[in-house]
């Protein structure tokens, strides 16, 4: 399953909820303000660092670049729109709106 998170982890609990309900083998894609969770050195970085031990995490490059994020947490794969489409094609999706 693919979980998309589009809210900043500093704004609400979408990312934390997603992490609580995630299964082994599920993947996470951070999009829109969700990509703030991908940034290194934040108070919420540990959330992503932890889940990376068990699950694959992607961040959408257009949103990462648009927010001037130049350093993403080690292990996150930055992907483009084509990669986004591939992920949606490969998994059933739940959006943590």
């Amino acid at each position: 399953m693919l979980h998309t998170v589009n809210k900043s982890p500093f704004q609400n609990g979408a990312l934390e909820s997603c992490l609580r309900f995630i299964n082994e083998g599920d993947v996470i894609l951070l999009i829109e303000d969700g990509v703030f969770g991908a940034r290194t050195g934040t108070a919420k970085a540990a959330l992503i660092e932890n889940v990376l031990k068990t699950n694959k995490v992607y961040a959408l490059s257009a949103d990462v670049q648009a927010r001037g994020i130049t350093s993403v947490i080690d292990g996150i794969e930055v992907t483009d729109y084509a990669g986004f489409v591939d992920l949606v094609e490969q998994h059933s999706v739940h959006s943590w709106l």
């Binding site: 299964n23 059933s92 709106l97």
Partner: protein, 133 residues
């Protein structure tokens, strides 16, 4: 139930009334229930507040949805779940939950089923589609 019946889950994570999500979600559930689908609904995060019984929405000028929740089982939507932690974090207990129907044999009230995160994750993995509201 045959294999071609779609398993469709609704997740409700928004509180009631502040946005139109819960209302729209309920409407979609009732429409989907008219088709041959295996429907389940999971209330989590602020969505659990949508299940608080005794909501008096008159002063807001809206009908509210408690009456509709009260007949979900009649619409053959009986797989209604609440995330235990979301409920407890928000000061709610099982007694707070709306009634969603009545047992045909015993005439006892049916309320949503309280489940934990692992149970919800397992159910999510079985779905063909999950619709978030």
């Amino acid at each position: 139930m045959s294999d071609d019946v779609k398993k469709i889950m609704f997740t409700v994570r928004k509180g009631p009334h502040g946005t139109i999500y819960v209302y729209e979600g309920l409407e979609v559930k009732l429409i989907m229930a008219a088709y041959d689908a295996d429907i389940s609904v999971v209330f989590m995060d602020d969505g659990v507040y949508a299940l608080q019984q005794g909501q008096k929405t008159g002063d807001l000028g809206i009908k509210g949805f408690e009456a509709t929740y009260g007949v979900l089982v009649d619409y053959e939507i009986s797989k209604v779940y609440v995330d235990k932690k979301s409920m407890e974090d928000r000061g709610m207990t099982v007694e707070d939950l709306v009634v969603i129907g009545e047992d045909e044999d015993t005439e006892e009230d049916i309320r949503p089923t309280v489940v934990d995160a692992d149970q919800i994750a397992a159910m999510m993995a079985e779905q063909h589609n999950i619709l978030p509201f």
